[in-house]
Symmetry: C2
DNA sequence: GACTCTCATGTAATCTTATAACATCTCACA
DNA sequence: TGTGAGATGTTATAAGATTACATGAGAGTC
């Protein structure tokens, strides 16, 4: 399993890489990476935290793009269904995928203090959930795995 | 790990047992198991599926108890914070705990066809999520683990 | 028994999140 | 130059959740 999200890094590069990668994938999969969709992904990429749909909508509005909720929700739907972003159910908010591309089963670690979110990958059939499903004959199609707690930085600052 | 929820069982007994157990625990922990709170737990126990807060509110209303959202949300808050019920984040809905009592880290399996929900127990520090957290130094306080898919029954009926 | 403090309840108003429905636009391709 | 599929714009509204404030009920004290 691989993790990412709480370390520092070249963020401008991180963003342009992700956009380029999404762009390439849309081309190869015949998807339309329209301006609104691209812009929403950029907005999400600017922060390694989850943004609410209305937060995104506000930014779009400020830029003169559509100003009604469906504009944001539709772009987010596109990004989520194609694996470029994820919804954090616990927060009713969205975050750019840090492992763009293939189908995957993400797990998130959400810092309750600074709101940073890190994404890791899991194998749904493995582990405790996989075992429980096997035990009762449940067929997993999709998983939501989210942990709340303190990221390394916030543990230092507030060691309670 | 232990699972429950898709099997058939004596449901009336299941309900009265859970209520009795909750009652006893409230007594021993100095919590007030008031009529509204008890009634909401009963409503939840009547189904092994998750109910939305407004669905619960509707039933309370029909019985002449409080009719405003906070009535339902407050009872649910009580039940959730004391481990008698859980919130299913994926569904924005609530379900009675089938392992009432102690502090625990539940995992849920949600059938997308019949909406049945089964609860299993996990050990957060173990498994893939625990490993990912350890890798990056994240301190887990709470987890949300939910799988969507098909329960054994619905796999038979709709084998696609 | 009256006092009072704490916690629970009742209710109105409001906020946040999300979707339905429908008109319009765009662009690849026939 | 159609035409049809998919994307966008906009209005309205549904669904989920909380704030704020008034009222009530019960345990413990004087």
């Amino acid at each position: 399993m691989e993790s990412l999200g709480f370390e520092t890094h070249d963020h401008a590069l991180c963003i342009s890489d992700c956009i380029a990668s999404a762009d390439a994938q849309c081309k190869s999969r015949g998807l339309k990476f329209t301006p609104v969709r691209k812009r929403v992904l950029e907005i999400l990429l600017q922060e390694h935290r989850a943004l609410g749909a209305y937060e995104i909508l506000d930014r779009l509005r400020a830029e003169g793009r559509g100003s009604q909720p469906p504009v944001a929700y539709r772009a987010l739907d596109f990004l989520v269904s194609n694996g470029f972003a994820h919804k954090i159910e616990r927060l009713n908010a969205f975050i750019a995928c840090t492992h763009p591309g293939e189908d995957h089963a993400p797990a998130f670690m959400i810092c309750r203090q600074c709101s940073a979110v890190a994404e890791a990958q899991t194998v749904p059939t493995k582990g405790q959930l996989g075992q429980a499903a096997r035990d009762i004959g449940f067929q997993i199609e999709r998983t939501v795995v989210e942990a709340e707690g303190l990221c390394p930085k916030c543990q230092e600052h507030a060691p309670l």
